[in-house]
Symmetry: C2
Subunit: 423 residues, 2 copies
């Protein structure tokens, strides 16, 4: 399905490959290898990518010229022959910005090209903010953070949103706040962030959490990863080989309004028994008998932590509510497993804080639903990136175009504080 | 997600592109263009693929030498300049075989490389056949049909199965007949069909119906197509840009055991309210008050046609049962739409014969479930390939390796009755 964040060489059937595309593909191949494997030698790159030795030499020289790789001192590799000069991503060159606009806060993270954090920022967001206000706060935080980072500008900026983005016109759809739907969020962000932020990428928080979880931490390298983010509602991101699935219009993963129970509670959309109306945070608070928690804007994470404390103190009612939540979560995950056959399913959001009572109930439900199929298995776990997943996904997205096609960064970049883009 | 039937140039991050891979990619690009657009000139190929004129000339000469294209007389193209020599797929060279092993019959279709039918065959299958018996019957039908076609052998054979196939070990999983699960169906088919059939491909009937529907007929060229096949149970196939999504283990699309109703009928798997237990054929017959129809092996298509006749004669009870089926079908499709964001959803199986009363009920349910999202739309229709979809998908699969990499067919093929494979 649509691999939005892909390769320089197209998987599709439309574009021919010429010498330029071939070079871009192979440069990207080597650069991504170094990103994913850390410090390595030219010989290791050659062995892993099956590029010839002269090809690796030439490509590495090119990437060094562009300031994307740097050489560190010679290191003895497993006692074989001469010490090899090691390569790694070059931190001093390019700068990446990640932004998350979530239900209750805006967060910003500035990193160098090697992944080192340079600056970060976070501000609470007012209840039901206008898109313009949220975007303005994000832009102000980015400016502040970039100033503190000592970098003049960034090569790219990724933004995680509490909404999907229409692939055609860049408007927000299925947003947490109904007033955001139809708003030209891509244009608003492009205007507010400006040239200083480089190439703009934006996507839903659920999808970017999936992207990060497939690339970083314990589940890095999962072939088929599905991430279920549970906040006020439920959203899904799916990656294959680290590339996001987006659907025909950019709407894939709108999991909140799938019908789970024909006799279930009525959802905000008017439908009966939507997943949102069952496992969204307000439904959970209501199931705990807490109508105020369901109606008011609360800090979901703190609320869930308080519920966890109550369960630890022996509150059986709270425990049962969490186990009920876990069974519903498991039924939702069973749909994802049966349909998408992932090797890894991760969850994020407020449910992260309820794991000890939630996950076993969820896993039992999944197992019951895939037993007849003899599903060869896979894991259902909390995302190891916890509540940082979406923001880490945003900063990952910021650099996708560079790793897809390193030739977009001019060779002069090595001299400047950030890469100058050639297109 | 995993595009099993892809391109010569990998979308992944592992393989480098060299001159050989580049040539294979560009040959495939041109060959697929001719397949998808019919008779066309070199200039049209160049304009569509953005390959240069000398590159097109060279690639076309190569494809002519391999016997994959043929030239037809010069034709005046839109009054521009000299008449152009037209190109089309060369039928006389390669032969493709499609096989379907379905619940009640085995079918075979032999086509030439240009898509012209050379021979076909069909035999009823006994109730609950052993895999070995079904495979043997398929092999006998293939031999007969190849003999009648006048072709010595085939370049490839695709097989549609009433099961998924484990991508790792080639065993059947989630099969219609429980006794098939765990059977090494890939090996059985390879042994029975033998060298004469060329490269073997196999996949579930639902997936191959999706493949065919995305490539042939009215919905050809759908970017994101999802096909829901409803027989004894429900199976799903999804394609992006015409490439099938397979999941991490080859199990994607096992849609029959998703939980649709926690208080619904108990499924054969033991779970409550699985989709199979609600919209599978036995459940439909039972809903019509026909326990015998539910328990015995009947011809689903004929049964559905009889129900349609009853409704036309004024049977309100039957009509209500079909509308109920339509609403459940719509809820299942709503899950597919919300999660996968297709531009086209097609259905196949016994429900094809109930369209006049089924589809409106289904569409209304989908609309209700995507309204809040403002889904930009897409169609929900019966597959225009009707009950031929899976078999057409099988014969399409038979040729995938040639269109992915035409260099696997030796230049000498033009002389022989079938392509000799070079790898």
């Amino acid at each position: 399905m649509d691999a939005r964040h892909g390769d320089a060489v197209p998987a599709g059937t439309r574009r021919p490959v010429d010498q330029t595309a071939m070079r871009a593909h192979n440069l990207g191949l080597v650069l991504r290898y170094v990103r994913d494997h850390g410090s390595c030698s030219r010989a290791q790159i050659g062995a892993a990518t099956r590029l010839t030795t002269p090809a690796v030499t030439k490509i590495v020289a090119d990437l060094l010229r562009r300031g994307l790789l740097e050489e560190t001192g010679p290191v003895q590799v497993r006692g074989r022959g001469r010490p090899a000069s090691m390569l790694r991503l070059h931190g001093r060159g390019l700068t990446a910005v990640g932004v998350e606009i979530r239900v209750d806060h805006v967060g910003v993270l500035v990193r160098d090209f090697a992944g080192t954090e340079l600056a970060s920022g976070r501000r609470p967001l007012s209840v039901d903010p206008s898109p313009r206000a949220a975007v303005r706060m994000a832009a102000a935080l980015v400016d502040e953070a970039l100033d503190r980072s000592g970098r003049a500008d960034a090569v790219g900026c990724g933004v995680a949103l509490p909404a999907l983005v229409d692939a055609h016109d860049g408007t927000a759809v299925g947003a947490h706040w109904a007033s955001w739907n139809g708003v030209p969020i891509r244009d608003l962000l492009a205007d507010a962030l400006g040239e200083r932020c480089g190439v703009l990428g934006l996507d839903s928080a659920a999808r970017l959490a999936a992207l990060a979880t497939s690339r970083l931490g314990e589940f890095r390298g999962s072939h088929q990863l599905v991430h279920l983010e549970v906040g006020a509602g439920a959203g899904v991101g799916a990656t294959t080989g680290g590339a996001l699935f987006t659907g025909a219009h950019g709407y894939a993963g709108a999991f909140g309004h799938i019908p789970m129970d024909p006799r279930g509670p009525v959802c905000t959309c008017g439908g009966a028994g939507c997943l949102n109306a069952i496992i969204g945070f307000p439904a959970f608070a209501r199931d705990l008998g807490d109508q105020a928690g369901a109606d008011e804007c609360v800090d979901y994470a703190r609320y869930a932590q308080e519920v966890a404390a109550r369960i630890r103190a022996g509150d059986a009612t709270a425990r049962e509510a969490v186990e009920r939540l876990g069974r519903w979560l498991g039924r939702a995950v069973a749909i994802l497993v049966n349909l998408l056959d992932p090797d890894t399913v991760t969850v994020g959001g407020y449910v992260l804080h309820l794991q000890p009572w939630l996950m076993d109930a969820a896993r039992a439900e999944v197992a019951a639903r895939v037993r007849s199929l003899g599903w060869p298995g896979g894991r259902l776990e909390a995302s190891p990136l916890t509540d940082q997943a979406a923001l880490l996904g945003a900063v990952t997205l910021a650099l996708e175009h560079v790793f897809a096609d390193p030739t977009t960064v001019a060779a002069t970049a090595a001299q400047g504080s950030s890469g100058r883009r050639t297109r």
